[in-house]
Amino acid sequence: MSETIKTDVVIIGAGPVGLFAVFELGLLDIKTHLVDILDKVGGQCAELYPEKPIYDIPGIPIITGNGLSEALMEQIKPFHPTFHLGEMVTTIENIGDPLYRVTTDTGKTFECKSVVIAAGGGSFQPKRPPIVGIEPYEDKSVFYAVRKMENFRGKDVMIVGGGDSALDWTLNLQPIAKRLTLVHRRDDFRGAPDSVNKMRALVAAGSMDLRIGQVTDLEGSDGQLTAASIKDKDGTVSRVACDAMLPFFGLTMKLGPVSDWGLEMEDELVKVDVSTFETNRHGIFAIGDINTYPGKLKLILSGFHEGALMAQRVHHYVHPQKRLVFQYTTSSTSLQKKLGVA
């Protein structure tokens, strides 16, 4: 296990609301680390609508999801937040008053005075194909990510999907697999053209198989696959031997571990006090789409407001001796110094 990282606040989720929380906390001299399960910042803005315009950010008539993420990253630069991407917070343990130990799925630990949950719709996780009886094979011979390529050496590997993940792993695993079969529902791929060309060349050379169809059935026992059935466009079903399968159908939002943290919840949302956005656990806050209160609207602008109020309360925990004087960035030299403009 790596060394414990000590900081003021851990923010769970690096979507727009988590990013802006860095700004509001930073103005109050509160240091932050952010953890996000995606390998990039921006949350839903990055994953679901990177190129779609957003029209209801105050003062910005039109901006894309990516544009907003980039602008927020620029805005929070003076506060030097640290990002831990591709990781999921699994536990939040109370070890003081308030002092928390936060642990991620890679075993990283943080000690912090407050935790801010800005997890949006939960964590993005791979979509599970609706194949009856797939569960016993998961993590034994059906995988949604490749952790170690060596595990696939000498195996009959089946990869399902038509995007970059499916194509990249096809190209990476084909040289070490005994035989690789790529299964996609249509003979058209949305991945990078270069990857598509390389894959087609391997098929033409007879070095791998491409099957157009959908997986309907699995065969095997004790979690070990032996074959899969593929239904092609005209309904013909055929069997393909395989002892490892990698389905890539994109991501979906699942609440994930949030429900294990002893927080009062309602309809899979975290209940908060509307004057501080604190949960029932002192020092743990919830802002943005993940929280609920009377009149809640799931808007980015609401999450920004919630972050500002949250920061005022977090200040009590992080700097209990310091009196908090409310200031404006337009006129306060002290705030402008923090922003690097005075």
Binding site: Q44, L48, Y49, P130, G163, D188, Q214, F249, G250, T252
Partner: protein, 107 residues
Amino acid sequence: MPKVTFIEHDGTVHTVEAELGATVMETALRNDVSSIVAECGGGCTCATCHVYVDEAWVEKAGAPSPQEETELDAAFDVRPNSRLSCQIKVTEDLDGLVVRTPSYQGR
């Protein structure tokens, strides 16, 4: 107002009035058709509002755009009459449209 009928995979039938110009996905959400998830809110980026257009309506509903066809790759049990309901706008021509929902939207 045009009417749209949703037949859910468990057999539940909803025949509802749809606003002109709204999408079939929005019409479903406004009327509590729970097997339409619409995780991305209509961005054609999540494939969780997948429907099967009734054979009689396939031509009028039209074919998926290349972007929608691409996104259908992330849906399950995709058939020739598969569409993403956020990409079908309700018009007078679609009065009476019938769509069926798949048993699984990926979550």
